[in-house]
Symmetry: C2
Subunit: 218 residues, 2 copies
Amino acid sequence: MSSEPPDLSQPPHEEVRIRRSAKRARYDRETIDAIVDAALIAHVGTVRDGRPVVVPMLCCRDGDWLLLHGSPASGTMTHGRDQDVCVTMTLLDGLVLARSAFHHSLNYRSVVVLGKAEIVRDEEERSRALEALMERLVPGRQADLRPTTEAEIRQTAVLRISLAKASAKLRDGPPGDDEADYDLPMWAGVLPQQAPTIRAPASRIAGNAAAMRSGERS
Amino acid sequence: MSSEPPDLSQPPHEEVRIRRSAKRARYDRETIDAIVDAALIAHVGTVRDGRPVVVPMLCCRDGDWLLLHGSPASGTMTHGRDQDVCVTMTLLDGLVLARSAFHHSLNYRSVVVLGKAEIVRDEEERSRALEALMERLVPGRQADLRPTTEAEIRQTAVLRISLAKASAKLRDGPPGDDEADYDLPMWAGVLPQQAPTIRAPASRIAGNAAAMRSGERS
């Protein structure tokens, strides 16, 4: 066992190395997991008849796996299983308004996952995966719902992809303008674009009082 | 010239026919244009070495074209040009909370565009495309900025894809529950998820007073 910290600036596989704007790349699982956990929709790319197909799917993370929810009859479920897929999740955080059109940008966090998509066949595993997706959609709601029936579980398909080949890319912070432009008489800055998020009910959060205080502040 | 209204339930090309949940499909340009005009980020799928690659890019519509903004050195700009691409834009409108896990859903509007991506080579055209992208990002801001230099225009690449092969898919409205579940004692409904939008400055809107009144209400 090495005591060296892992080099977070290096990709786990050459396949996922980010070449453009490499300073915005992250390869550590902490960053990747946080982005995947905040994403609700993944854009899933497959190849059909040699051509790309990209469809949006509900996603969530379960440990080292990315789960995708769909109908058993959907094209991506039937064409994507056991095939190479590219799953991309993008969170738009802000519009970056600079002092020139050229330096306008977006603040974003994105993750790209490469791998083979496996269909979750085992009914118990699928049931667990559906609970994870439900928990992602509205934390804590599952407990209030009637139990899911076996027929309902059979009518839902779940794909999973390992997070072993994943990379993140993000931009954060204010606009970066040309030196000569900073004195121009115009507003520049970031307009937030985050969608609202739903928190778990307070009673289910460990360290309840502290969590509620932090919730009140945000 | 036929006076028959076009059949909006049919796709313009078999390639873009939606098979799953066909009742949610739309093929009319009015619906497609409205979704594209509301999307800021497109997920662009290409095929490289037989495998799918999906990357997020800033997008906007210019008439019958979908424009994508990027660096001339990016993989999608170099690999995507003159190749088949699939560009998907998804707007998440709401979380649909039903009375059973199974009937939970998302309200969304999405568009899929299939076609060959062309690089916009002409400098004047590219300059116009960049203005369209800027106008999309923050309506009306262009007029306040210093002029874009020729060097800046050269450092930016734009891909365009015809909207001729496009389809839209959307879900709207409240949850649809099993008859027996409607009496269960729990809240059900839609939690909105729209990101904030930016309007053009009031002075540039035709019918200024009416527009401002409608702006105040929304």
